[in-house]
């Protein structure tokens, strides 16, 4: 699930809301929105944003995901974007799309607190002596979360704005005319000298109306190192924005639309970078080919991270490392490559497909791997009929109850006169697994063939093949219930492929139970589409209720390895009996007759 600030989550829980989208282009002075945020440098010129989707269903078995481009259309307001083009190259620049709501901060902000002081004036910035007859605009976006009203002021008489306690963010703008003697300032004041100040603020501006140039230096726009007055003790806390990041990518190209009145920005995620050809050099330094193979002998997930590092792309190392060290602890693949592959093909086909994983790009533009194996059955979100736009269609996923894994490439009795084992395209080992309960019901169906150059029978290839088949059967082995393109309110915008959610809906038929209505049923998020016109979300959900059984009903969690001092089962505490793994007898019982717990 996409992480988001609490202010965003709170605002997103409301049924009635107006999502704001902010698109930032790295190095470009204009931030584009479809809503007037009031923030300096934000321009509400976005006309439309096309639906943005990531599709996993059907691609996961091939180790990857289909991800669409971010496409948005921007009005060339007063031809200003055109005017920017000679001085700024858009193509290749990083693009970030964030979303939030009115009343939440679209940029990082500062909490300004004061105690004590002998005056109502607590904190201010002084831009120097005003010029005679020159108009100045003094502004900030401020939220008063203190117990008493505060005043945002200049030091020109009458140019003040009172903000009551408990207000939301509001734009405060004051205009003054310089007199050639008074300093132009932006001030934070309390009503009484003994009051404390507690405000959230961003985007402070002191500028001549004529040129709009902010006289507050960039380094001071976070309110740091401003002036305190009359002994007030100030505390500043810098806080991140309240918006959630939905997309990070790069501009691929810009089209024109609306008879030249608009520009269409086409943005790609970083998967394009994986088109790079890797392992171009054999072990002996010559170009990789039949006579100059490139060998690899390492953990497949270490190979994966090494590729990411070599190419120089960002990836979510935490999740990959966790799987490397636990579920796939000690696994080793051994490749003898006689041709240089593209990174994408190699990663998806040779590293992730045999592990039951798929590659996709997350909201931060990082490569991420989801595995069929789930470390936890914990639901990240509870959805009900109130969150859906219509009754979801309960369909079925494609059935797979036969899995064949081929490995040991060129490792056997091929060309015995050869000095190498790599001069054959044959796979010398093959393991075919049937999901018998499914085969008994439906017959053999949907055979998946996975060919791995790196898996070796002498490196637990057979074990991995059987595990992989098991994971695929749990996912697709029994005509798994699939809810396709479930329309949901924007509340669901933070869900990602691989997330486990629980769904309650009285109108969805449950074919397993033979009844209508499901309650708290676990599903895995597969496909996701953001609709930026209606601000709704479409999800394809795959039944994952097997997880509830795999993890002891979804609340106990799998047993853990015990500390060395742990007592035998009958002497262990009730807590430890439920927490740790104990050995049981051949009847799956402990000595006191309690049922034995299975391994995770």
């Amino acid at each position: 699930m996409i992480s988001a600030p609490s202010a965003f989550t709170t605002a997103n829980a409301a049924l009635v809301k107006q999502p704001i989208v902010v698109i930032t282009i790295a190095g470009y002075s204009r931030v584009l929105t479809q809503y007037p945020t009031g923030v300096t440098g934000h321009y509400d010129w976005i006309e439309s944003i096309e639906d943005l989707s990531v599709n996993v269903a059907g691609s996961d078995l091939d180790g990857g995901a289909d991800q669409a481009q971010l496409v948005f259309t921007v009005q060339d307001h007063a031809r200003l974007i055109t005017a920017d083009m000679p001085g700024f190259v858009f193509e290749g620049k990083q693009v970030t799309l964030k979303t939030g709501f009115p009343g939440t901060a679209p940029v990082p902000y500062t909490r300004i607190q004061s105690t004590g002081g002998g005056s109502t004036l607590k904190y201010y910035y002084d831009a120097g002596v005003s010029l005679l007859g020159v108009s100045y605009r003094i502004s900030a976006i401020v939220k008063n979360q203190g117990a008493t009203a505060i005043t945002v002021a200049t030091n020109f008489f009458g140019a003040t704005t009172v903000i009551p306690a408990g207000s939301g963010f509001q734009v405060v703008t004051m205009l003054v005319t310089g007199d050639g003697g008074t300093d132009v300032q932006l001030r934070f004041q309390t009503n009484a000298s003994g009051d404390s100040l507690d405000v959230l603020a961003y985007d402070p501006v002191i500028a001549k109306v004529s040129d709009g140039i902010n006289l507050i230096p960039l380094a001071r726009r976070d309110f740091s190192s401003w002036n305190t007055f009359s002994g007030a003790a100030m505390t500043l806390t810098q806080l991140p924005e309240d918006f959630a990041t939905l997309f990070t990518g790069a501009i691929d190209h810009i089209d024109v639309a609306n008879f030249g009145q608009s520009y269409v920005f086409n943005c790609v995620d970083n998967k394009e970078l994986l088109n790079e050809v890797i392992y171009q050099t054999g072990d002996d330094g010559n170009p990789t080919d039949n006579d100059h193979p490139h060998t690899l002998n390492a953990h497949p997930l270490d190979i994966l991270m090494n590729i990411f590092t070599t190419i120089g792309v960002s990836y979510d190392s935490t999740g990959i490392t966790d799987f490397r060290d636990n579920v796939f602890g000690g696994l080793q693949f051994s490749f003898i490559l006689t041709t240089a592959p593209t990174a994408k093909d190699f990663i998806e086909q040779e590293l992730l497909k045999p592990l039951g994983g798929y590659l996709w790009t997350n909201n931060l533009g990082q490569f991420r791997v989801n595995f069929f194996y789930h470390m936890s059955a914990a639901s990240v979100s509870s959805l009900t009929a109130a969150d859906t736009l219509e009754v979801p269609d309960a369909t079925q996923a494609d059935l797979v109850n036969v899995v064949t894994v081929r490995f040991d490439k060129g490792g056997g009795s091929v060309d015995v006169s050869s000095t190498r084992d790599n001069n054959s395209d044959k796979f010398m080992a093959e393991d075919t697994e049937l999901f018998q309960p499914s085969v008994d019901k439906y017959g053999q169906f949907g055979q998946q063939i996975i060919e791995s150059q790196g898996m070796r029978s002498s490196l637990q290839g057979y074990s991995q093949a059987k595990l992989l088949a098991r994971w695929i059967f749990l996912r697709y082995g029994l005509k798994t219930q699939q809810l396709s393109d479930v329309g949901l309110i924007w509340k669901a915008c933070l869900l990602e492929p691989g997330d486990i959610i629980d769904l309650t809906n009285a109108f969805i038929p449950d074919r397993t139970a033979g009844t209508v209505g499901i309650t708290g049923k676990l599903f895995e998020v597969m496909d996701r589409t953001w609709d930026f016109t209606t601000y709704t979300v479409k999800l394809t959900l795959l039944d994952a209720s097997f997880l509830a059984n795999a993890f002891g009903g979804g609340h106990l969690g799998p047993p853990l390895i015990a500390p060395n001092a742990e007592a035998d089962y009958t002497a262990a505490s009730t807590l430890d009996k439920g927490k740790y793994m104990f050995l049981c007898n051949t009847s799956d019982q402990y000595s006191n007759g309690d049922p034995g717990r299975g391994l995770g």
Partner: protein
């Protein structure tokens, strides 16, 4: 013949102990890896033989009778001994009187499995100018097969710990110490016995201490047994193969 068979080919995984620390999830996958390592340790090193081969033969890839695993060429070493120094077709010398056996040269290429045999003859005292090269020789070849012979990686130098069966009785907790000891002991079973090809040596040379390709362990001589094969009849103390010379070349010398 092995006294056991395995229904599935086991393999090795260098599962780190940290995976088995307390409060880590007790996954069946983790114990499965230990089990597979233990099985792999029983099957990793196999000796096949002895086959009879002569010059030009290639020793075929063996198939494990334990689990049907087909070995790759890179997993094999060969030991040999002469079964017969004669012509493979006749089992007698290719050259009759007045020839006498001069030298032998045998080899099974450790990389390709190609068998090479050579036998040289020369005349007796009364026919000193006669020399004859042949491919005489029949070898008995033993195959030393080690799965993942040089690509196995074991980190950290695992140690064996004895556990009585009572440690695995009903109600016993699966503790970190127990799980890690099983993990390490299974790995020890994999690399406890290794066969390492050391090369060709002549009189006076010292075979260096072998180093395990799996974990870098340098074996002491006390931990080693050396097996030798007849390579060739030496021409001199330098270990060079004897070279039949023509009369011209002999004069030139």
């Amino acid at each position: 013949m092995p006294t056991f068979t395995l229904s599935s080919i086991p393999g090795f995984a260098d599962q780190p102990d940290t995976t088995l620390a307390h409060d880590k999830t007790a996954l069946g996958i983790k114990l499965g890896r230990i089990n597979a390592n233990a099985s792999f340790g029983m099957a990793r090193l196999e000796v096949f033989g002895a086959g009879i081969y002569h010059d030009g033969d290639t020793v075929p890839l063996p198939v494990s009778t334990i689990d049907g695993y087909v070995y790759s060429r890179a997993e094999l070493y060969y030991l040999w001994a002469p079964q017969n120094t004669g012509n493979p077709a006749s089992n007698w010398v290719s050259a009759g009187a007045p020839w006498t056996l001069w030298y032998l040269a045998y080899k099974v290429d450790q990389v390709t499995g190609l068998v090479s045999c050579a036998g040289g003859y020369r005349g007796n005292q009364d026919h000193k100018d006669r020399q004859m090269q042949t491919q005489d020789g029949v070898l008995q070849v033993w195959i030393i097969a080690q799965r993942q012979r040089s690509s196995l990686v074991v980190a950290g130098g695992p140690a064996f710990t004895y556990h009585a069966d009572s440690a695995f009785a009903t109600d016993k907790p699966l503790t970190e110490a127990l799980a890690q000891a099983m993990n390490q002991s299974a790995k020890v079973g994999v690399i406890n016995s290794e066969v390492i090809y050391m090369g060709e040596f002549a009189h006076g040379a010292t075979v260096p201490q072998p180093v395990s390709p799996a974990d870098g362990h340098t074996y002491s001589y006390a931990e080693c047994l050396f097996a030798t094969c007849l390579r060739w009849t030496m021409d001199s103390d330098g270990g060079a193969r004897p070279t039949p010379r023509s009369r011209t070349s002999r004069r030139a010398n």
